[in-house]
Symmetry: C2
Subunit: 303 residues, 2 copies
Amino acid sequence: MSGVVAVDWGTSSFRLWVMAADGAILGRSRGPEGMAHCVAAGFAPVLAAHLERAGAPGGWPVLICGMAGARQGWAEAPYADLPAPVSALAAQALRLSPDQAGGRDIRILPGLARRDPARADVMRGEETQLLGLALTGHRGLVCMPGTHCKWARLQDGAVGDFQSFLTGELYQVLSRHSILRLGLPENGGPAPEEPAFVQAVDQALADPGFLVEALFAIRAGGLLGFAAPEAARARLSGLVIGAEIGRMAPRIGSEGMTLLGQQGLGALYLAALRRAGLDPRIADAETATRAGLLAAAREIWSL
Amino acid sequence: MSGVVAVDWGTSSFRLWVMAADGAILGRSRGPEGMAHCVAAGFAPVLAAHLERAGAPGGWPVLICGMAGARQGWAEAPYADLPAPVSALAAQALRLSPDQAGGRDIRILPGLARRDPARADVMRGEETQLLGLALTGHRGLVCMPGTHCKWARLQDGAVGDFQSFLTGELYQVLSRHSILRLGLPENGGPAPEEPAFVQAVDQALADPGFLVEALFAIRAGGLLGFAAPEAARARLSGLVIGAEIGRMAPRIGSEGMTLLGQQGLGALYLAALRRAGLDPRIADAETATRAGLLAAAREIWSL
């Protein structure tokens, strides 16, 4: 029997699956040792510990996607270009040198770049999920909520184009570091059904630029006693998510769209997409990652 | 001879002028002891030291504007409502109690609030500058660059309406705390003639909502080698300032507009306003503050 060890190595998380060639999961391990942790602690020991914990056979190759391939990661896997079918990603996977990899064949999938000075963009990790989605029949736009939300277009089984938004981080830096923090709760996030979230989504969907004149009003509304901290937080979240979706909604077209994940932040996006009159197909992020890694592994090692 | 001691007490600065009834400046003092400093160190000792340094006559009253009247300040001077003529501000000035004020008559001018839950807004300190401008013949919209830039409409010698933007702070938190910081210079700010600033201003003026999809691209452009850190900084600045002016430009009308200050941040606003085809009248911020304080003092004490 042959198989592969598939790894999703993000900024703040590590996930590993031992998979047979048919995709059956034979073992798994996960932990918080993302790139940020490993820059100091080293990548090889973290991988070795998880390989052992998941019972990975000694001779099986390892395929990694995500931030481990960033410039600050384990080894830089240069970005692939658009359009990116799975064959292109597989062909450009970076093989670690023997002294980095020990006795194994360990490769890191490249991220994707749009090398257009007027619309520069990059992703690392999401390209693997997108290929997994393409292989399971998804097409059209895919919305991938996160700190840096990505919208990608799947066409002919490849990633054709994409657009990143700073939305999640914009929410974070404003709620933690700007004057708005004085009027927000210290912890937690809004619920998708909160009236202040829904109202803000509707306003920003109708006019995304409204965001820039609505931010200070969140603080002023708190000072004047118009909004409780929870409502202020919901309003900030609704404004930034609504503005993002308001920019992308006109580009969705007749193929419809897919939302990757519907828990946590995904639930807020789902609610906001529905306010925009959209009915997204829902896909599971982890399933998509595994499908993409398995497809690339089959290309590389003819499993 | 009679006169007044006029004080502009901001978040991070203190300015004091000893003025005769005709506005002649007889003494002055300034320092970094803004509200943020005085919350811990006390307000009365700071004022006493500056009064002595400026040679203020013992019996003259003191009129203060700015953050000393905030809830976290020396004593809360509740916000006045719109429209706000100088007589209303003067009538609502808060007189400090004898144990706060020692032997002097010390009063703090109120800020302004728009008590509309759908468009809540507040200002403290700018209202005094605006009255100074109104008294010297300015009318129409006034743009007041700062951490929280204000646009106010002067009509019939009063502040009729206003709109605050978080623009300056948005630039600060993104450049210091978001992933964009990794691609920006550590210190300094852009120059108004930098091509990356001008191009970003033009794009955001034409479509303020473009800001939300252009932020991550600043980081991606740096990663892909398309933009040096200085250009990335100029682009971020141009996007946020351009988006703000793009929202306000349609509301300016035939009366034209005034820009308060043309140094530093003001120079960036001036360049961006000109890109929008506007030709603002330029006013000096400190002159406006003094004129507003003097006018209010004349109402209060019949100087």
